[in-house]
Symmetry: C2
Subunit: 255 residues, 2 copies
């Protein structure tokens, strides 16, 4: 069975998330239906990680097995045609070894979070940013973010529904900076807990408003208790940015 690796971009707004659900169209279902239209096969499209409802992707990776070999270019073209008009596309497609697994072979993942930090609500970027009208001190957020980098028990930033075996993760990089009206957060790790990025961003926003210090953030981390972490930032500002596999260059920590 030839296996194909897919690089995906999607607008999370109309989807109930990556994974098939009963309560609405998912990215996975849309792609699986496109494969069915391409070759009449009922397949499983395996993503490198799930994204929640409303979360976007700039470079999600998935794999799919087809029963007969097709040109990767033909697979890309057909999936993009058959998934239309849903806002999900295959940006690149290549055939890979059967040892490649989008989820289990992933060495590192990176996310981008966009906060629109101005008094006035978004228009063009509605649904694509978290609107935070109160001023945020991005430099203070960036300094405090250092507290979270490294290997820690992230229970204070873990959703109750998280299915990970352990709350211990190694956060390789967490950066915050201002770009015009926006405050951008970049996060990179081998893997993340459920809602970890959104919970870290929601908590860093408390630091950005001056309500919390870096020491408060550290105390919250040490408490290993979700009740001590800050609020969950909304899904709409979050972008699954990229995944790295063996033999590939490091993921970028800048825009």
């Amino acid at each position: 069975m030839p296996r194909y690796r897919l690089l995906l971009e999607y607008d999370g707004r109309p989807f109930c998330g990556w994974q098939r659900q009963d309560n609405g169209p998912s990215v996975q279902q849309t792609l699986e239906e496109a494969v069915y239209r391409l070759c009449g096969e009922t397949v499983r499209v395996q993503g490198s990680g799930r994204t929640d409802s409303g979360v976007h992707a700039l470079g999600q990776v998935a794999h799919v097995d087809l029963s007969r070999p097709l040109e990767p270019r033909a697979v890309l073209g057909a999936l993009n045609a058959h998934s239309r008009p849903a806002p999900v596309v295959v940006l690149a497609c290549c055939q890979v070894d059967e040892t490649f697994h989008a989820r289990f072979s992933a060495l590192e993942r990176s996310y981008l979070y966009r906060i629109l930090n101005r008094p006035v609500r978004p228009t063009l970027d509605e649904g694509r940013v978290w609107w935070h009208p109160k001023p945020l001190n991005a430099a203070a957020m960036d300094a405090a973010a250092r507290v979270l980098e490294g290997c820690h028990d992230f229970s204070s930033f873990r959703a109750a529904e998280c299915q990970a075996e352990s709350p211990v993760k190694t956060l390789s990089c967490l950066r915050v900076f201002r770009q015009g009206d926006e405050v951008i957060v970049l996060a990179r790790a081998r893997s993340f807990l459920h809602h970890q990025v959104r919970n870290m961003v929601g908590t860093l926003a408390l630091v950005g408003q001056g309500k919390w210090t870096a020491a408060d953030l550290e105390a919250a981390l040490q408490a290993r208790d979700r009740a001590r972490g800050g609020p969950t930032a909304p899904a709409q500002g979050l972008y699954f940015r990229s995944v790295r596999y063996e033999g590939e260059p490091p993921l970028s920590d800048t825009l």
Copy 2:
């Protein structure tokens, strides 16, 4: 009557354009109704220039007269509340002299045009870019753009419905460059003919594809005949970027 100057941002998608029309909601009508909800007055909101249906604005300017003085901050807040959920907002508001006229006092206007130049259709930027799947040579487009800079009869790039008295305009700057998957066009002039930017962009795309040379573009300009110009690029890639008035710094020719 106190006069207020408004700096506006809008997503052009749901609007039939700037100007009041019978065939759908316009930006102007949305703002005029917000003023009515604020103070019960039926007013005219005067823009610095019209935009077509689907054209966006990052920095449109308008003015409006109210019968009694209100704090500019209160005007801004009320208009943003009352125009909700339409995707138009007032980014800034100040009181100005009655000699200020958003349209007639404008010294210069600038537009931005975004072409998504990749084989795969847009998802997150659907309705916000012109998707041009065939490769474009941005450097060739930029070199050819020099032909159009300066004072010319732009009849070859003028919509049939254009109401300007003269087809002669001075194009102060026209730049084309690549930024990732996008080809960006920046245009600056005291004023533009109807569809001038979209017609120039559509024609430059012929140069970018290698179908036209800079000499072809020059011949089209010299012909002073719309039939000799290239096609009109779609509205959705166009952004009204900024306006300059007396005493204000020059508009930027970079992003």
